[in-house]
């Protein structure tokens, strides 16, 4: 299987006053297309910096980063924006939805920066919302949705531009554990059914347990890279949980 991500000798330094801080020290790895990878590590391990570089929000100090066959190390601001627009879907811990804006319009947002005509944008947004189980909530605003639903809207937004990879940064961090498992179930389904490469950054081993491969960072270095023999299946875990308080309380 071809690699969708190739990282070679990646170095990232920050300069705090006179002293350079080496955040990432010579990191090399590859991620295969259609894989489900978790990136773990304590805070300060460099995983956020790596996340920013993988998400084309930041540039490495040296080394190569090839995303879907494109070397993105030397692109300028606007070229990086275009790569993010076409190849990457972001899911954030705090959802980052636009307030007072309908779910459909939130999902459409990445398409606003393409030449997609309005009817097609809406159609694609509907499809993405359908894929995360939110059909019929197109006109709801974030304030009318529960946390889990808001994160699903955010996932729909990350899907809408058919990205090569979805980068999720602590996607369950702001949710309780049951809803966190629901989110992981959606990720697993998208990964299985649509073959989307998933990269989830987390510090929670229970969440990492749902991935196929787990990469651990410590002190800016790759500490452990293991392929899980038997990833947990989120859907089954959910079935095993007692059917306590239904999630959809906040719906209108």
């Amino acid at each position: 299987m071809a690699s969708v991500i190739e990282v070679k000798d990646l170095v990232k330094d920050y300069r705090l006053g006179e002293v350079p801080v080496h955040v990432l020290k010579n990191i090399s790895f590859e991620i295969e297309r259609g894989d489900f990878v978790s990136i773990m590590g304590p805070s300060g391990s460099g995983k956020s910096t790596l996340m920013n570089i993988l998400g084309c929000l930041d540039k490495p100090t040296s080394g190569a980063y090839i995303l879907d066959g494109i070397s993105v190390g030397n692109l300028n601001r606007d070229q990086l924006a275009e790569i993010r627009n076409k190849k990457i879907g972001f899911v954030f811990q705090q959802f980052n939805l636009l307030a007072r804006t309908s779910a459909a319009e939130n999902v459409e947002l990445p398409l606003m920066y393409t030449d997609t005509p309005a009817p097609e944008r809406l159609e694609r947004a509907r499809k993405a919302l359908l894929a995360v189980g939110l059909a019929g909530r197109e006109e709801h605003q974030p304030s009318q949705l529960s946390g889990g639903q808001q994160q699903r809207v955010a996932i729909a937004r990350s899907l809408v531009n058919d990205p090569s990879i979805i980068l999720a940064d602590e996607p369950t961090g702001a949710l309780d554990s049951r809803i966190g498992i629901e989110i992981m179930a959606i990720f697993q389904r998208l990964n299985r059914e649509q073959g989307i490469t998933m990269i989830v950054v987390t510090h929670d081993p229970d969440i990492a347990a749902y991935s196929n491969r787990s990469i651990h960072f410590k002190d800016g270095r790759l500490q452990l890279d293991e392929r899980l023999a038997q990833p947990r299946v989120a859907r089954k875990d959910l079935e095993a949980l007692p059917p306590e308080e239904p999630e959809e309380i906040v719906s209108s």
Partner: protein
């Protein structure tokens, strides 16, 4: 195009979120634009009024007054000596190439009687050329003719004020008025001219043939029966004014046998010049008013910049998100510029309405004539858009060049 429409929608949504704040920001532009429109309107009105008054005097006019000679060291004011004659007028018209027409005038105060009514006014003895020089038209009847002047006919032309006071609303033409026991047939009434630039009522006058006036009404000057109170001279064009003044001066010095080195026994005044100066000062005034009003427009622009900077800070996370999902520098720049321009243009439109209303109120209550031209409305509109672009640019640029990582993390 697609993106601009989307930006306008986003802008309206953002402005609606903070209604009060947007309204107050717009108020700055509203006041600025309204002030510019109203003040320029007042200035233009004043200028137009002065131009109208200058028009009422007649164009390319030179006035020659007799006198200002010294006798035995005592200097007399202009008009004190009867040194100008009707023959001088004829000579000027005949011999000065830059002069189109001359109109000798004699004048004096008279009491005009019609039936039970009477009215004190100024009688002017003139020739038919006077009508051309002063740009008079007739409200009714006819002006008297050269034949009337030659025959010293007892005929009179009334100014509107005199006609009103003697005849009320009925037409005086053909009626007989009495001046100093002499009956005059009214030949016609002049179209009113209103106030002169110096504030005199130009319609409070009765015009008589100059011959009749000297012989029957005002009494001839004892020293010189041909003497006139003043001589109006019209140059052939505005450019010929200076030339004609020189020609008239040379001719009169020669006719009056004034030796080189001695002072003129007449005074020449260039009326157009005097009033042109007034017009210029009115224009300067209107530019000044406009400039002061523009300052408030700039202050309004600063208000926009201020609020846009606040808005950029408040929406840092939104900007970060937009950048993360693919917004380019110019997309963010456009979004915030459109927002600033929307603010300023909405303010501009409301300001135009307020400014128009204000200038109407000013003309109604203060009785000042105001003139709001479509050009000044267009300018105000364009100017407010420019204010939006120029004061919105800095905040928009700030937004567009935010670091997406920092922006996403912003609390």
């Amino acid at each position: 195009m697609n993106k601009i429409v989307a930006s306008i929608r986003i802008a309206f949504r953002a402005l609606k979120v903070n209604r009060m704040r947007s309204a107050l920001t717009m108020l700055g532009i509203i006041i600025g634009v309204a002030a510019v429109i109203a003040m320029v309107g007042v200035g233009a009105g004043a200028t137009a009024r002065i131009q109208e008054q200058i028009q009422s005097i007649g164009s390319n006019l030179i006035i020659v007054l007799p006198g200002s000679i010294s006798s035995n060291g005592v200097r007399l004011g202009s008009g004190a000596v009867a040194s100008l004659t009707q023959d001088d007028a004829k000579a000027i018209a005949a011999e000065c190439p830059s002069v189109a027409l001359t109109a000798p005038t004699v004048r004096g105060g008279v009491q005009v009687v019609y039936g039970n009514n009477n009215w004190a006014t100024t009688a002017q003895g003139v020739t038919p050329d006077y009508m051309t020089i002063r740009d008079y038209t007739m409200l009714s009847g006819q002006f008297f003719t050269t034949q009337d002047v030659d025959a010293a006919a007892k005929t009179a032309v009334l100014g509107e004020t005199v006609a009103q006071n003697l005849f009320g609303d009925s037409d005086p033409t053909g009626q007989v008025v009495i001046i100093k026991n002499v009956p005059f047939t009214v030949a016609g009434v002049l179209t009113p001219k209103g106030q002169s630039p110096t504030g005199q009522d130009q319609d409070d006058v009765i015009l008589l043939p100059i011959s009749t006036a000297t012989q029957k009404v005002l009494g001839a000057n004892k020293a010189n029966a041909q003497a006139v109170s003043q001589l109006m001279v019209q140059a052939i064009s505005p450019e010929a004014m200076d030339q004609s003044i020189q020609e008239v001066e040379e001719l009169l010095r020669e006719r009056h046998r004034i030796l080189p080195g001695l002072e003129d026994d007449f005074t020449i005044r260039n009326l157009t010049e005097v009033f042109a100066a007034q017009e210029t000062s009115a224009q300067v005034m209107s530019i000044l008013l406009g400039a002061i009003a523009s300052v408030s427009l700039i202050v309004g622009g600063i208000g926009i910049m201020n609020i846009m900077l606040v808005s950029v800070t408040e929406r840092t996370r939104e900007i970060g998100l937009r950048q993360a999902v693919g917004a380019k520098t110019r997309d963010i720049l456009l979004q915030f510029l459109v927002e600033a321009v929307t603010l300023s243009l909405l303010g501009g439109i409301v300001g135009i309405i307020v400014g128009l209303t204000a200038s109407l109120l000013i003309s109604y209550f203060a009785q000042w004539s105001t003139q709001v031209s479509p050009l000044s409305i267009l300018l105000a509109f364009v100017f407010s858009a420019l204010v939006g672009v120029s004061f919105g640019y800095y905040p928009a640029r700030k937004a567009a060049f935010l670091d997406p990582i920092e922006a996403l993390r912003y609390e």
